[in-house]
Subunit: 335 residues, 2 copies
């Protein structure tokens, strides 16, 4: 069957059916009305939107439509993870180029459903439009509660304080390493698999974000634009400097093996789309969290010097050449 | 200054500054973090997303970037109006083609700000990406409270009941008439102005939606895909038939004057993007609301016959030829 024959509303029905348990059928107003509605307790709403556009964020030769569906979910709820919020519902707005076929939509829905199942979120609504270029805009809604002092139990970029340690989850750069191997035609090499998966099926650190809030941390960001650039956002928001020890970066062993340590380190600092969390906290607060989270590595500290700036230090404490930025959604497309 | 020089984060800062009071700077977590957060009372969250893509929903020769900004707000909060919800916050996700210039973004932000001011909503966050084609995805968040029996005070498509009257606000078809005049190069004719404005600066019927909930109505839909097609959504969701009296349709006098009554009626039934509300309710419920709302016109009734179908009747009660559907976001782009 062709998409044109199905029409907008037939396609929406098909997607909702295909989502299975990932469609929020039991909420106050489920998919199918002008808007979705669900019951909320008093507290804090947390909301974010992110885009995956063909050509800018993915290509058909770098990921499947099922991968795009997974990543559309992971990329948005990662922003909720970085707030320490509990993700609940998604609205997914899709633009379909004329080249998209029904099988592509089915695969996309399967990827969305798989990620929803993995993260315990559901699709409450969305939109479908036929346009010149394919893209997915995913809005994620989560909740946060009030801390004992009445303030919202959330992680914020501007909460880094001099004296904090800086930690990161997982192996930043793994996604960029996976993409580099795909583009070099090396993605079928056995050791490439975890890196390719990191690119196509990234992990959103929901549990870590919530554990960080519970442990009393106040500051986090997700590493979606590259570790150095994202720490720069923290440094500017909080008015602090950040020092990163190059040798402390938790490089992926497969990235070292396949690309060499220098390239792996460069990707760890500049590669985007990892969706790991970078956190800052005093050692006494970070320690207990890190003990319970095997994935967390201390990589640096927050300082009063060079406010707004991230510097990377070698083993002798000397500044390495500044990595040139990270992922910029405008420059990448126009550069 | 070129957009490339400003970069993604510089552009976001510029947009937030340009939004002025339309940026939600005083919420729990304002624009600038991984996600936005705001305090909520216990009740119901209502959320919707809508798309305005260049080429599919607008062209640079049919509306300005300021118009696109206005309509991006109006189109999304219209879906909240159709639920009877109170709109509160927006997340705006923008894709920018390489041809978009900084002045276009400024104009877009001005249009968003104007609509936010008119409707009392604010922008809590968003996303910017450089891509192949320009589009805007607006997520709108509103709230609803519980009725005295604990059920959500919301208007739903599936709540139409046989015996209900059907009413519509404003003059459906005005937006399509405006577009027809723009495309015919007749938009500068004096009488065209209200129609052109209906297309470029449509009105979302927030107050009507809330008044309908307060008056005890249960069923509404916004007329964004064309009156006949949108009433068809109600008919199918509720499992009822709907009869519309052609002579009762509130045609815009300028549309009749400039396009003739037959064309004006066709556009009233099939034209999209009006963002008027269609409501159904028993006469005893609808009457008091209609008395207080000069814009409301009774156009038909809900029946048990031909469930799922909308029929249009002439003054002798005979069926007119069925209008062929309305706006379909897929077929329109691929047709």
């Amino acid at each position: 069957m062709a998409l044109e024959d199905l029409g907008e509303f037939g396609l929406i029905d098909r997607i909702v059916a295909r989502l299975g348990g990932a469609a929020a059928r039991d909420i106050t107003v489920p998919p199918g009305d002008d808007a979705a509605a669900w019951a909320v307790d008093a507290g804090f709403a947390v909301a974010t939107v992110d885009t995956l556009a063909e050509g800018t964020h993915w290509r058909r030769d770098t990921m499947s439509f099922a991968d795009v569906g997974w990543r559309a979910v992971a990329t948005s709820i990662s922003d909720l993870a970085a707030m320490g919020a509990e993700p609940r519902f998604l609205l997914i707005s899709v633009e379909l180029a004329p080249t998209v076929e029904l099988a592509d939509i089915d695969a996309f829905a399967d990827g969305v459903a798989a990620a929803c199942g993995a993260y315990g979120v559901r699709v409450a609504g969305g939109n479908v439009a036929g346009t010149a270029a394919t893209s997915v805009h995913t809005t994620a809604f989560g909740t946060a509660v009030a801390a004992s002092d009445g303030s919202p139990a959330l992680l914020r970029r501007d909460a880094a304080r001099p004296g904090d340690l800086v930690a990161v989850s997982g192996a930043p750069g793994a996604s960029a390493a996976g993409l580099a191997l795909i583009e070099a035609g090396r993605d079928t090499e056995p050791e490439a698999e975890p890196l390719v998966m990191a690119h196509r099926r990234p992990t959103a650190r929901i549990e870590l974000g919530r554990a960080a809030v519970a442990a009393g941390l106040a500051c986090a960001i997700d590493v979606s634009d590259g570790l150095a650039q994202d720490l720069g956002h923290v440094a500017r928001a909080a008015g602090v400097g950040i020092e990163v020890e190059a040798d402390a970066l938790p490089l992926h062993p497969s990235a070292i093996a396949l690309l060499g340590v220098e390239h792996a380190r460069e990707l760890a600092l500049r590669g985007g789309e990892d969706y790991e969390l970078a956190l800052t906290a005093p050692a006494a607060t970070l320690g207990p969290l890190a003990d319970g989270e095997a994935s967390l590595t201390t990589i640096g500290r927050v300082v009063t010097e060079h406010p707004g700036e991230v510097v990377v230090l070698d083993s002798d404490g000397r500044r390495l050449a500044q990595p040139r930025g990270g992922w910029d959604q405008l420059r990448s497309a126009r550069g």
